[in-house]
């Protein structure tokens, strides 16, 4: 056991855990952040996607000892019911979520992608950005539309602010 300190969704945390425990398990079991899901456990499905220092990664393949002093953002950090992000609202509006198991992973991947661009992405661009996330329900079309409409909305909102 070791005390490992890092930041999750803006809060500093200290967890007591074997350093070789996957970050995903620590988020879910120690920190009660159950948005991130385990599905394949080996990097193939993206349901466990979180951001570390802004980059999307599979938290099932990161050991908690590797994130000491780093900044982690999960789907809960993108937004909760009371302060939903435009992206999450777009998923609801477009009907981009069905069973919902894959959704937190998609939200984090899409958020990290949208943070890096300042235009409305083409369908191809969204497909590349979300290629590491699998969904067995929606057929993807609505997910792609949701990401595009969130991009559109954020651009208009920024335009209003400026």
């Amino acid at each position: 056991m070791k005390t490992i300190r890092f930041t999750v969704n803006g809060n500093e945390v200290a967890v007591s855990s074997p350093p070789t425990k996957p970050l995903l398990d620590v988020l879910r079991e120690e920190l009660d952040l159950t948005g991130s899901k385990e599905c394949c456990g080996k990097g193939e499905c993206g349901s466990c996607t979180v951001m570390i220092n802004g980059s999307s990664v599979c938290s099932c393949l990161v050991l908690v000892g590797q994130v000491e002093n780093e900044t982690v953002i999960t789907a809960e950090g993108v937004g909760l019911a009371q302060n939903m992000d435009v992206l999450q609202q777009a998923f609801i509006d477009e009907g981009a979520t069905q069973c919902g198991y894959c959704t937190p992973g998609f939200i984090v991947s899409a958020k990290s992608f949208l943070n890096q661009i300042e235009h409305v992405p083409t369908e191809e661009e969204v497909k590349t950005a979300l290629g590491g996330n699998l969904c067995r329900c929606t057929g993807y079309t609505k997910i792609i539309k949701a990401v595009q409409s969130a991009a559109k909305l954020s651009i208009t909102q920024q335009g209003v602010k400026n």
């Binding site: 070789t20 425990k21 999307s56 050991l63 590797q66 950005a129 590491g132």
Partner: protein, 292 residues
């Protein structure tokens, strides 16, 4: 998921890391992006006493031009390669190979050093490193050696790297204006797929239309380690690379590769695809060259 009993240490400097690697009493293993290592750890295949976490050894994460060469730190991520202006301009084939690795999450996590050390016959950066004449720097507490990439791999999953050594640096040729490269890959799914066949091509072009002065071709996944297609390389120089010549060169690739059948594809399919990928790659390169 079963938690490994192993300990994990995070050295803050390379020297500290070399000291840890020198430990004779315990089994130790390096852990970089973890995209191969954690999968194997979970499968129970890799279970050292201690994992040496080098993910945050930023001193080994850089891309820089030195004289006429490019030096790449072993902890450079695939995303770093994809986004690097220098790599895109002077080693385009490597940028393209890195872009074909897994999905974005995997490119953010995985490192070039890890891709080499894993030594998979399907590793995507490796054929690109072959055609760029890469040299790999290995360091231990007492020694530093620079090994040409063709001497690194001794079989699937095996390299000449000793247990107390770490890959510190990869040195590649910086391509001139008259050199172009391309990476082509066939896998079952665009993102996240292990190559069934891949090929890296680098050509030095002459003054005359489609005249090739010299070329290098390296195939992955069609032999126990990466192979250079030397007969095809020889043919590149014989005639200008018009479409019928490209077709002949690609047909010759059929005889140069020696693939196996496995769960992902049969040997015959791999042979056919090796020819097709080479043909497509050369064809695309010529189009790009003429549009330049």
């Amino acid at each position: 998921m079963k938690v490994s009993e192993a300990t994990l240490v995070s050295p803050s400097t390379l020297d500290e890391c070399l000291l840890l690697l020198n430990d004779q009493k315990h089994s130790v293993q390096l852990l970089a992006g973890g995209t191969d290592a954690v999968v194997r750890m979970k499968e129970g295949v890799w279970n050292p006493d201690t994992w040496i976490n080098i993910k945050n050894l930023d001193a080994l994460r850089y891309i820089e031009e030195v004289n006429h060469e490019i030096h790449i730190g072993a902890l450079t991520s695939h995303t770093d390669l994809v986004e690097s202006k220098l790599i895109n301009e002077r080693a385009d084939v490597l940028a393209q190979a890195a872009k074909e690795i897994g999905a974005i999450q995997l490119q953010n996590m995985g490192t070039i050093g890890g891709n080499i050390a894993t030594a998979s016959p399907a590793g995507d950066t490796i054929p690109a490193l072959f055609v760029l004449d890469a040299k790999i720097e290995l360091r231990s507490l007492t020694d530093t050696r620079l090994i040409p990439i063709r001497e690194i791999f001794t079989g699937p999953g095996r390299t000449v790297k000793k247990s107390d050594e770490i890959i510190t640096k990869i040195i590649i040729r910086s391509q001139d204006e008259d050199e172009i490269g391309i990476f082509e890959k066939l896998g079952p799914r665009k993102a996240q797929s292990i190559s069934i066949v891949n090929v890296a091509i680098s050509l030095k072009m002459g003054e005359k239309p489609r005249e090739c002065l010299e070329g290098k071709i390296a195939f992955g996944s069609v032999a126990p380690t990466i192979i250079r297609a030397t007969k095809c390389e020889y043919m590149l120089k014989l005639n200008p690379l018009f479409d019928d010549v490209i077709h002949d060169i690609a047909s010759a690739a059929w005889k140069e590769v020696m693939p196996i059948s496995d769960v992902r594809a049969s040997a015959k399919y791999r042979r056919n695809m090796a020819s097709s990928l080479l043909e497509r790659g050369l064809y695309r390169l010529m189009k790009r060259w003429e549009e330049q």
